[in-house]
């Protein structure tokens, strides 16, 4: 754990979190602390449970055991009617955008404002247009359907939806996957600007190392259900951990063995 995280009360705190799907253990004792305003990136190969980790924190999945606290509150023990108050703290950018294709872009962005905060449609639309501007999209885009947008624009709209409700914590699930390098860097810059401007605590998962180095204050690596390394983002290239080194450099040879059927 970094000095920052140790010195401040954790915004998010995980202790010995386990999650299995049948016989497959996905999370096998996760301990993680994220301080307020800190941006932590979890790296790891495909299928190592990075998305499951986020979904357990948000409450989409229920952890089998362990403690998950947000602002000191055990989110697994929250009553159904108090769940809404916890969810208000969260925003999430999904890997594929997960935009509601039955709604125009502005309604996607304003969805949480209208449903959660009971804001009028007119007022919510104004807020949606303002938020779209923050991610570099003009008001005309608001009238389009998500299917009319490019991948990069969908990510931006997803980001706008994630921050529209001014959440305290934002989760980024593979924010740059599937984008060209320039658009990926644009998204990275947008993430940094919105996270820093609004003082948001961020937990990102990615296997894009350029993105991880850029958006993370801290990087931690998930392998076989455990966080095997945790350190400052600038230290990731000299971690001294052979698993991290292999992953960072993208070497086929090393302690991480990919199961390839021949």
């Amino acid at each position: 754990m970094s000095a920052t995280a140790q010195n401040q009360a954790s915004k998010i705190r995980l202790r010995d979190v386990h999650k299995s799907f049948g016989a497959k253990k996905v999370l096998a004792g996760i301990d993680l602390d994220i301080a307020k305003g800190e941006s932590v990136v979890v790296i790891g190969g495909s299928g190592t449970g990075k998305s499951v980790l986020i979904k357990c924190i948000i409450g989409i999945l229920l952890a089998d055991s362990g403690l998950i606290q947000v602002d000191g509150q055990d989110v697994a023990q929250v009553e159904a009617n108090a769940r809404d108050a916890v969810n208000r703290k969260f925003g999430m950018l999904f890997q594929g955008g997960a935009l509601f294709d039955s709604l125009p872009v502005w309604e996607n962005v304003a969805f949480g404002l209208m449903q959660r905060e009971r804001m009028s449609r007119a007022h919510a639309k104004e807020r949606a247009v303002e938020t779209l501007a923050k991610v570099g999209l003009n008001a005309d885009v608001g009238e389009l359907s998500p299917s009319e947008l490019s991948g990069g624009m969908q990510k931006r709209v997803g980001l706008a939806r994630a921050i529209a409700g001014e959440p305290e914590i934002v989760f980024f699930d593979e924010p740059t996957t599937g984008l060209d390098p320039i658009m990926a860097d644009v998204i990275n810059d947008l993430i940094i600007s919105v996270v820093k401007q609004q003082g948001i605590t961020a937990l990102s998962i990615t296997h894009d190392m350029h993105s991880a180095r850029k958006i993370g204050d801290r990087i931690t690596m998930l392998y076989e259900g455990k966080l095997i390394w945790d350190g400052a983002a600038k230290e990731v290239d000299r971690s001294g951990n052979p698993f991290v080194d292999q992953f960072v450099h993208g070497n086929a040879e090393g302690p991480i063995k990919m199961q390839v059927r021949r």
């Binding site: 979904k55 948000i58 409450g59 989409i60 769940r83 809404d84 969810n87 208000r88 969260f90 925003g91 999430m92 999904f94 890997q95 594929g96 997960a98 935009l99 509601f100 294709d101 039955s102 969805f111 949480g112 449903q115 959660r116 939806r161 409700g165």
Partner: protein
């Protein structure tokens, strides 16, 4: 031993399926009576289920009524002269009690059940259902409840219209092809029909509407994988709701008319 374990695993999977469906139904029903309710979404679903299903249900009803009149006439003619007078009675009773609700139910299951499963299934595999949860919106309240309420309300309305159109189809064939007296046909239909015939059909329709929406939502909600999973969910929705419609048709008939 392998054969026995195969039977065991099939039975366990079936029981698991029944248990999951029961919990899904109970959860959906509990959300039907707890706020927030989304009138705008219920209205949209009512238009989709009711208004847009009208052409297909209407066409099914009119041709069913026409065929029923023709078949009844030619069938009765084999037994005794003059029994053709029963055609009006057969048409009105068959349509209001059985053919109206069952055919409308099966047609709507094909059209709406499949569409619900495909839409919610796509939302599942593209993480839109997860996105709803992160935006503090319960997928049951937002997606399932409006469809259940709309199905429950619109199917009886559709069946009522289908009954009228079907009887009209029988009237057209009887009068213009078979040469029946129009006034006598209408009198026969009206005199023979009892309120319970129509009421039982409307009760069936309400139950069928609920089943169609329930199975469409359930199949979509638990779909897995990508396009193949959504395709399987669509098929499951139509097949399971059709089987349940025919099963509940017998149960309700037994309750209303069983001796």
């Amino acid at each position: 031993m392998n054969f026995l374990s195969l039977i065991g695993s099939v039975v366990l999977a079936f029981l698991g399926h029944i248990g999951r469906l029961t919990i899904f139904t109970a959860t959906a029903l509990s959300h039907c009576v707890r706020p927030p309710i989304y009138p705008r979404l219920i209205g949209r679903q009512m238009i989709d289920i009711g208004y847009y299903s009208l052409p297909v249900v209407g066409l099914t009803a009119i041709f069913s009524g026409m065929v029923l009149a023709l078949q009844s006439y030619t069938g009765f003619a084999r037994f005794a002269a003059g029994s053709e007078n029963a055609v009006a009675n057969v048409v009105v009773v068959s349509l209001t009690r059985e053919l109206g609700p069952v055919l409308a139910g099966l047609m709507v299951a094909g059209r709406i059940g499949a569409s619900m499963a495909a839409e919610i299934g796509t939302m599942r595999v593209t993480e839109q259902l997860d996105a709803l949860t992160t935006l503090s919106t319960n997928p049951f309240k937002y997606l399932v409840v409006p469809r259940l309420i709309a199905g429950l309300l619109m199917l009886p309305l559709l069946v009522l219209i289908a009954d009228i159109i079907g009887v009209f189809g029988g009237f057209v064939v009887s009068v213009y092809k078979l040469g029946f007296n129009p006034a006598a046909y209408i009198t026969n239909s009206y005199d023979f029909m009892k309120p319970l015939d129509v009421i039982s059909g409307l009760v069936k329709a309400g139950v069928f509407g609920f089943i169609i929406a329930l199975m469409g939502c359930y199949s979509g909600y638990y779909s897995k994988g990508g396009a193949q999973g959504v395709g399987a969910a669509t098929t499951n929705a139509v097949v399971s709701s059709s089987i349940l419609i025919l099963t509940f048709n017998y149960i309700i008939t037994e309750l209303f008319f069983g001796t």
